[in-house]
Amino acid sequence: MIRSTLLLAGVTALLLPAASHAQVRASEPALVAQTIDGTRLTVEYSRPRARTRDSLFGKIVTWGEVWTPGANWATTLDVSKDVRVNGRPLAAGKYSVWIVVRKEGAWTVVLDPRHRRFHTMHPDSTAEQVRVDVAPAAVPFTEALTWSFSGLSPEGATLAMEWGTIRVPVEIKVTSSMSLITPAEKAAPFLGAYTFAWSGGPEAAKPITLFLTHENGSLMGRWDPAPFPEWDRFFLIPLPDGSFVPGFMEKGKLYDVERDMVFEFVTSGGKATEFKVRAEKDQVIASGKRKS
């Protein structure tokens, strides 16, 4: 009878529609992802809630514990390319995330390549792990444990865990896909003033001068007049095929690279004489000739 009941229960479970597997969980699964300069950073975790429990750290999470900042299966961090975490190199891959919580002093974030681990499978210390010290900070109360990316820049971001009144941040720096540096001897053929004309649209008839200079190791462009205030000055970033793309600045720092605006120069006698600007469909959207 018992066997029949179990069999019936098993068959019933198999026949139930998929929707019936949906369930309310104390720690709901979540995912947060951020792409920076082509590097995708993904955190997958479950979100425990404080549920009126006070003193989360030191009580629910005991001092000295190697704790996964999440619940159920260990929180994971997946990085699509090599990055640096608080200055330490971290190879592309997926890692389980653990934090050694301490009553005093720095905490330690542990990234373990053995990423599929249940939260009770605390990892022993291995040479393959990346361990970085972090400074927990006091913040306003957060009910459900939350991972987030903030402080975005072209170079990286701050990845932080918040739960209760604690915030644990780590700095992630991505590998830059391009260099702002153009050596002086490579920049020299391009320096000078050029005419600049859009190929179409209402802007086509407006006379514009493009000035190229070499400043602080970078080839820089400046339009006069600038089509937009934010275009006032820009980096010309070299591509492997000898062309350049503009990198736009805010407060002197790169914030956006326009990959669909490629400057192709024609050189003669060691100097650039003219250029074309090509867009995504390889069509010419602007061109110019050397003035001086």
Binding site: P202, E203, D241, E280, Q283
Partner: protein, 143 residues
């Protein structure tokens, strides 16, 4: 608000089209496709590959502005078949190379990256560049 991206992706192109007396066939022509992650190495051109499946002038009646591009692809199937498309379509079942973007449903009808890579390949081939040089240039631009 009129932004830099609006300017780059709209005004000059629309201006060019108007100057040429051409109107976009549909709004989809202006859909922005994004480059996908590098999908791996360039394919090896298939021996004996031809342009027999590349859309013809008649099949492009609704997009006459694309006829010169498709015609230029038709002239160099052995080159285009050795180039990976970076718009993400390389992952679609049945796609082999950039040439696939110009056949059948022809993603190049609407995708600016398929169009840009095709136009660039034809232009560089006309300039006497080898397949490897064209691949390198396309990787620098679209990879």
């Amino acid at each position: 608000m009129y932004s830099r991206r609006d300017f780059l992706r709209g005004v000059p192109l629309a201006g060019l089209a108007l100057l040429a007396g051409i109107r976009p066939a549909s709004a989809s022509r202006w859909v922005i496709h994004r480059r996908g992650p590098a999908a791996g190495p360039h394919p090896t051109p298939r021996p004996g590959i031809t342009a027999a499946k590349v859309l013809t002038r008649e099949q492009l009646e609704d997009s006459p502005q694309l006829i010169p591009l498709f015609d230029s692809i038709r002239e160099i199937p052995e080159i285009v078949d050795g180039i990976r498309c970076n718009c993400g379509c390389a992952d679609v079942e049945g796609f082999y190379s950039l040439l696939s973007c110009y056949e059948g449903d022809a993603m190049a009808r609407a995708c600016p990256i398929c169009q840009g890579q095709g136009r660039m390949a034809a232009r560089l081939h006309k300039d006497g560049r080898t397949l490897d040089e064209i691949r390198a240039a396309i990787d620098a631009r679209y990879g």
